[in-house]
């Protein structure tokens, strides 16, 4: 009280009014966010709701959230039993994991060399790699297909994996992190006669866990959801990934909306589950990667 007494009554009043207004503002912000969040969740909720209806109820008018003949798992059972969904899960998991591992290994090795080994011409090499950031994969679909076709890799896993393994962005992110680490760590190990490869593997990699996680998560999500590349590389239904396979279900199910929504929901489920478990890491990883690029 003694502190506030020194102020004029007007100031005190203004200050308390300020916090009052602030609190009101926070509740207002909460209200707006809540409405926005509900709008954002409705499409997902509606997809799940539709998937749990019988086919007849999906097209009933007037439209209702609670179907006349009750909820059923029929569509989920049918989609999982009849379609290629399980196979597509497997293809997506296999190719995305392979891409992620290869990207992390290649990019961290290159970044270590660029950051820690003072070899001649490394500035040029770095700029050549950086220039790759300017090349969007979408404009390469035609020559990439021609190349893969030449290697007889169309409709194979390597055909999906290989075109996605050279990531200049990953090199850039690793290099930035390595540049920021202190030299002393390495100097001590070099005096002990450790080779550079051992320094990379035993000192640098354990220190880089947060960056590895960020790059790995980023790469995994992007390659899991990559549509255009597997789409041009694969024609055989058995070799399709989740995004490509799902894009064909509308035509194979005709106008069976419950089935279509069931497969759409199931197709989105793995990454939603991954996201729920690693929410903080994913959000942070994407924020860091994005802000650094």
């Amino acid at each position: 009280m003694t502190v506030t007494e020194a102020r004029t009554p007007g100031e005190i009043q203004e200050k308390t009014a300020g916090t009052g207004r602030r609190r009101l503002g926070n509740w207002l912000a909460f209200g707006v966010l809540l409405v926005a969040a509900i709008i954002w969740l409705i499409p997902l909720a509606w997809a799940i709701d539709t998937a749990l209806k019988t086919e007849a109820d999906t097209t009933a008018i007037p439209v209702t959230w609670i179907p006349a003949s009750g909820f059923t798992f029929e569509s989920f059972v049918e989609v999982l039993g009849a379609g290629n969904l399980l196979r597509w899960y497997f293809n997506s998991a296999l190719t995305s994991s392979a891409i992620t591992v290869i990207v992390v290994v290649l990019a961290s090795l290159a970044a270590f060399g660029l950051s820690r080994v003072p070899f001649r011409g490394r500035t040029i090499v770095f700029w050549v790699i950086l220039a790759g950031l300017m090349v969007p994969p979408q404009v390469l679909i035609v020559p990439l297909f021609t190349e893969m076709n030449f290697f007889r890799l169309v409709d194979t896993y390597p055909g999906i994996i290989l075109p996605q393994i050279a990531s200049p962005l990953a090199v850039f992110i690793f290099k930035q992190f390595f540049d920021g680490l202190p030299h002393e760590l390495e100097d001590a190990a070099r005096v002990d006669g450790a080779s550079r490869l051992r320094i990379y593997w035993q000192i640098w990699m354990p220190l880089s866990r947060p960056v590895i996680a960020a790059v790995a998560i980023f790469t995994f999500v992007l390659s899991w959801n990559n549509f255009i590349l597997p789409f041009i590389m694969v024609t055989n239904t058995e070799m399709m990934t989740i995004p490509v396979g799902l894009a064909t279900v509308q035509s194979s199910y005709g106008v069976r909306y419950a089935d279509i929504m069931a497969s759409a929901v199931l197709g989105g489920l793995p990454l939603i589950i991954v996201f729920l478990f690693f929410q903080r890491q994913i959000v942070q990883g994407i924020a860091n990667t994005g802000l650094k690029s």
């Binding site: 300020g18 207004r21 503002g25 926070n26 909460f30 707006v32 966010l33 926005a36 954002w40 969740l41 499409p43 997809a47 539709t50 999906t58 009933a60 008018i61 439209v63 290994v105 290649l106 270590f112 080994v117 070899f119 001649r120 790699i129 790759g132 090349v135 969007p136 979408q138 404009v139 390469l140 679909i141 035609v142 020559p143 021609t146 075109p163 996605q164 393994i165 050279a166 090199v171 999500v221 549509f227 255009i228 041009i232 989740i242 995004p243 799902l246 894009a247 509308q250 497969s263 759409a264 197709g267 989105g268 939603i272 991954v274 996201f275 929410q279 959000v283 994407i286 802000l291 690029s293």
Partner: protein, 307 residues
């Protein structure tokens, strides 16, 4: 010169060479992948665009010179699809930046359940594009579509979201905003975290209200983040293909008013087998993107110098 000095000299050269070799070995695996799957396709694409290259034949049969490019510039479909891509970018970038900013500003206040909002806005971003396209095609249906049923119950007329000539592109934009806003939202949240708390405290002591604080502290200090988000968003929007293609082919989306340039490239290359022509088209688009990248790069540098 003594023998000893010579060996020292020799040793120095050797370690220099060894360092060079080690360095190259570290970079080599990446460079091989980079050369095979990035540099080579860039060169191959350029070469193809000068030939009457066909996907089914063996390739390099007829050298056409600039004929592919000449045909391209006279092709109304090329101009139309290029325009659709630019229109999509013009329509999608403002809401994707502004709504993300608005939501991030609100979520950055002391509101309860912040994790829930992050979840709600970001979750759609991790969905595969096909899930997104299928859900929105279903929402946009006439009659039993959810959106139209709500419009009707509000006493409004139904909208022909998918086939309508004037709304089809807007429908794609709405679906895209819903799908990808979480990315920009998260970037903005990260940008907001970097603004020091003391600035707000100082401003509050000077009697600045929430609006003034946002207007004169937050927005200016976020300008670097905003620049980045706008650039990333424009690039992402220019490459639009997936959702439009899926909604076109399996959702009845109006094709003539939405087909983007990448889709035209795909059709020419993979369904018409006119690979040379498609490569030429990719290259023209690539050059446009390069120009954008250079402009953006120069602007970013100038900003940094001024700061």
């Amino acid at each position: 010169m003594t023998a000893r000095a010579e060996t020292v000299q020799q040793k120095k050269v050797n370690t220099g060479r060894r360092t060079d070799l080690t360095g190259y070995l570290f970079v080599l695996p990446f460079l091989i992948a980079y050369g095979l799957f990035l540099v080579w396709p860039v060169i191959l694409g350029l070469r193809m665009s000068f030939f009457d290259w066909s996907l089914v034949g063996t390739g390099t049969t007829d050298f056409l010179g600039l004929a592919n490019f000449r045909e391209l510039f006279g092709d109304p479909d090329f101009w139309a699809s290029l325009w659709h891509t630019i229109l999509f970018t013009l329509l999608s970038t403002p809401p994707l930046v502004l709504i993300a900013l608005g939501l991030a500003l609100l979520a950055n206040r002391a509101v309860p359940a912040r994790w829930f909002f992050r979840l709600a806005f970001f979750a759609p971003y991790v969905l595969p594009v096909s899930t997104v396209a299928l859900i929105w095609v279903w929402l946009y249906q006439p009659g039993f579509g959810l959106i139209n049923s709500y419009l009707v119950s509000l006493g409004l007329p139904e909208v022909d979201w998918l086939a309508g000539e004037n709304v089809a592109m807007l429908s794609v934009v709405i679906a895209t905003v819903w799908w990808t806003i979480g990315f920009n939202f998260v970037l903005y949240l990260a940008g907001l975290q970097e603004i020091p708390e003391e600035l707000y405290e100082a401003a509050a002591l000077d009697g600045a209200g929430a609006y003034q604080q946002t207007r004169f502290i937050t927005i200016p200090l976020l300008s670097r983040t905003t620049f980045l988000i706008v650039v990333l968003q424009i690039l992402a929007s220019l490459f639009v293909f997936d959702q439009i293609y899926i909604m076109n082919t399996s959702g009845g989306l109006n094709y003539t008013v939405t087909r983007p340039i990448i889709q035209y490239v795909y059709e020419q290359g993979f369904t018409q087998y006119r690979v040379g022509f498609a490569a030429a088209m990719s290259y023209v688009f690539f050059v446009l993107i390069l120009v954008f990248n250079i402009v953006q790069f120069v602007l970013a540098r100038r900003r940094r110098r001024e700061a």
